[in-house]
Symmetry: C2
Subunit: 80 residues, 2 copies
DNA sequence: GCAATTTGTTATGTAAACACAACAATTATT
DNA sequence: AATAATTGTTGTGTTTACATAACAAATTGC
């Protein structure tokens, strides 16, 4: 078991204008950790994933998934 | 950051009559690992949590949460 | 009853998540 | 242009998720 996990942390951060440092502080991890996650250098623990999803008010699957997320432009084509 | 994570793996397993061994095989981990998770001996990786949720066809938050899950009897009192 | 399956326990090893530090590169602000 | 803020990179150390094994206890099936 070692599947790639895609994430949209950077997108959700950009959406509300939040720096890595700020997000790191909110979920109580090292700022570097957020960078490592965004670049896919390593996968988050469930604990961290739950905390991040909780902060953005969405489900874990909205931020983390086995399947790659469609680009913004792709998403705008089909409604929603 | 080190919050307790509650889970309902055993419930979802029981619901469909699935042994730990079987679930372990499905999500490709050691059978002991499922036992460790159910007893709260350790928290799953996001990868494993996603795989388990995916198999049961529910959201990660339906199986794993920071807040304890209500008991079945508790749940039956208030509809749904 | 016995046998098989499921679950629980303990122990040891490894890989990877995360902490922390120090600094380079890039981008934004004035 | 200079300063500050954000992001990227590299390295070292600790903790813990998970693998594997071996076996005890409990449960289920015949």
């Amino acid at each position: 078991m070692s599947r790639v996990i895609h994430n949209r942390i950077a997108m959700f951060r950009a959406d509300v204008g939040l720096s890595r440092r700020d997000l790191a502080e909110i979920v109580a991890v090292n700022p570097q950790t957020i960078g490592f996650l965004e670049r896919g250098d390593y996968k988050p623990s469930l604990e961290l994933a739950l905390a991040i999803a909780e902060h953005f008010g969405v489900a874990v699957e909205d931020i983390f998934a086995f399947q790659p997320f469609p680009s913004l432009s792709e998403q705008l084509k089909r409604g929603s």
